[in-house]
């Protein structure tokens, strides 16, 4: 065994830097979650005095916090649903285009927003959705009064949902298109001989064969159900839309970092991790049971 280890020494040495860095910046923070049960004192660090479930009790008694959970679930639910339906539809329609150059051009255009940061996208949205922005100028042509896309609590969540789908659907399209091109064209020819028209073919060949990819993408997004998009919302929200737009992550940031209530922030973070963990396991089991799909 020792001889074997000596032979392998080089491999283990290669792994040391990564193991160390991942240990420091990923595993010590796991341990750092203990402060959720402590009253954090910067001098004592992770050895601060224990307070049991006080931090959790404190945060769950805040009416604002329960609201953020609802907002998070509401927005991420529609983002996930839209984030599946839109790219699947778009990919199927794009797949009907016979000219590959045209197909590629469309694909290239819709994939662009995916690569830009939410800071830039937010800057663009702030500009075009503003009261004198291009969208309201356009609406005024039809006599529609300026819409407060980012300032009205009832509209804000939908601005987030739609703009998130807009930014991300190009990625989904590429994924689904790759799955579509791997479908055997012989299947369609056979269906056509049997008299199945295009719509029937889509329903009975394309969609079932896309299912494994759709299931995989849905399962991956289910683990994110409590991430309603911090990067997007932080850059676009304001106190007037907190009631419908504040999400768990923005709440944790304001509480934990800006107000330096580290323990309460960590408690919310821990709560979030536990729920996400359950969701990941659940969705994995579901995917395995329902679609017979194994990811790992």
């Amino acid at each position: 065994m020792l001889h074997k280890l000596r032979q392998q020494k080089a491999y283990h040495l290669m792994l040391i830097p990564s193991v160390l860095l991942v240990f420091i910046f990923s595993y010590i923070p796991f341990y750092g979650l203990v402060i959720a049960f402590q009253k954090y004192n910067p001098g004592l660090g992770f050895h601060s005095p224990w307070v049991g479930w006080d931090n959790f009790q404190h945060v769950f008694n805040q009416p604002n916090f329960v609201r953020t959970i609802w907002n998070t679930l509401y927005m991420s639910f529609f983002k996930i649903i839209g984030g599946i339906i839109v790219p699947v539809t778009f990919a199927i329609l794009l797949n009907e285009v016979a000219h590959s150059a045209v197909k590629r051009t469309f694909q290239t255009l819709v994939y662009i927003p995916n690569f830009l940061s939410w800071v830039i996208m937010a800057g663009i949205l702030l500009d075009i959705l503003g009261s004198d922005g291009i969208i309201n100028s356009f609406l005024s042509v039809f006599g529609i009064k300026p819409v407060s896309f980012l300032g009205s609590p009832s509209i804000f969540p939908w601005t987030m949902i739609v703009s998130d789908i807009w930014k991300g659907f190009g990625f989904g399209t590429v994924v689904y298109l790759a799955a579509l091109t791997s479908i055997d064209p012989g299947l369609y020819e056979a269906a056509l001989i049997d008299g199945a028209k295009r719509w029937k073919q889509t329903l009975h060949i394309t969609l079932p064969l896309l299912m494994p990819t759709i299931v995989l993408m849905s399962v991956l997004s289910l683990g994110n159900v409590l991430n309603a998009g911090f990067d997007q919302i932080y850059n676009l929200y304001s106190p007037i839309v907190y009631q419908s737009g504040d999400i768990i992550d923005t709440y944790v940031y304001r509480l934990g970092i800006q107000q330096a209530q580290y323990s309460v922030g960590a408690a919310v973070g821990l709560f979030k991790s536990v729920v996400s963990c359950i969701m990941i396991v659940l969705s994995y089991v579901l995917a395995n049971k329902v679609a017979g799909y194994r990811i790992f």
């Binding site: 080089a10 283990h12 290669m14 792994l15 990564s18 923070p29 796991f30 979650l33």
Partner: protein, 296 residues
Amino acid sequence: MVQDRSLSRRAFLVFNYIFLLLTSVLCILPFVNLLAVSFSGSAAVSAGEVAFWPVDFTTKAYEFALSGDRFITALWVSVERVILGTAVNLILLVLTAYPLSKTKSKVMGRNLYMAFFMITMLFNGGLIPTYLVVVKTGLINSIWALILPGALPVFSMIILMNFIRGLPEEIEESAVIDGAGPLQVLVRILLPLLKPALATVGLFSIVGHWNSWFDGIIYMNDMSKYPIQSYLQTLLLNFDEIMMKSGTDYTELLSKMNARTGRAAELFLGALPILAVYPFLQKYFTTGLVLGSVKG
């Protein structure tokens, strides 16, 4: 494939083309609008006259962006971050993916190492504990705070590992017979073969580092150390303030540009590098999807 030339089919194709064209154009029109605003006069922008072509063409907003140190400093921090961060990522990726591409009989504890890294993909300690660890390591205000916490991108590592596994084993075996040790095999034999995969994961890193903004905001106390996206984030809401503090006559400045044109110019400059490498991005990101889908 059998051609369907019925009237309904042709009608569908026409509508499909129109729909795809409209959707694709919708994805880039906001960028065209941003560009037009950035090159327009302030009066025209305020009056809502600018759509997709500059009105009262001026480059004042760009001159303002590049005058003074704000933008250039942030740009330089980002360039440094991208170069350093990508280099660190690539070195650790190669050093980690190579030993892990071996079976557990060749590298003892291979599966344990793998689990150690994979767990961090699914779970993390959350914002607050991670922040506190970075504070404790003394990296605050140093560029390493933006590089070390994400030094090993696990998803990229898996892509690279699968790529190495896909290479013919004989190449490595013949080198071993010639007496080459693991490090020599890695540097002399494997590295040249890894180029396409390294291009893919390298681009992931470049885009990731360029687009990151949140870590800059929480880990840098000093605004002059902000990378470009963090700097742009601070612009979103208070560009007027920057114009007032710029030292030039504010009223005179306002006659040529305003917060909207100024912000548009800087946002566009911030997005430009990504748009410039976009053709490569599209190509390699798709390759990455294919490489990543090879099961390990």
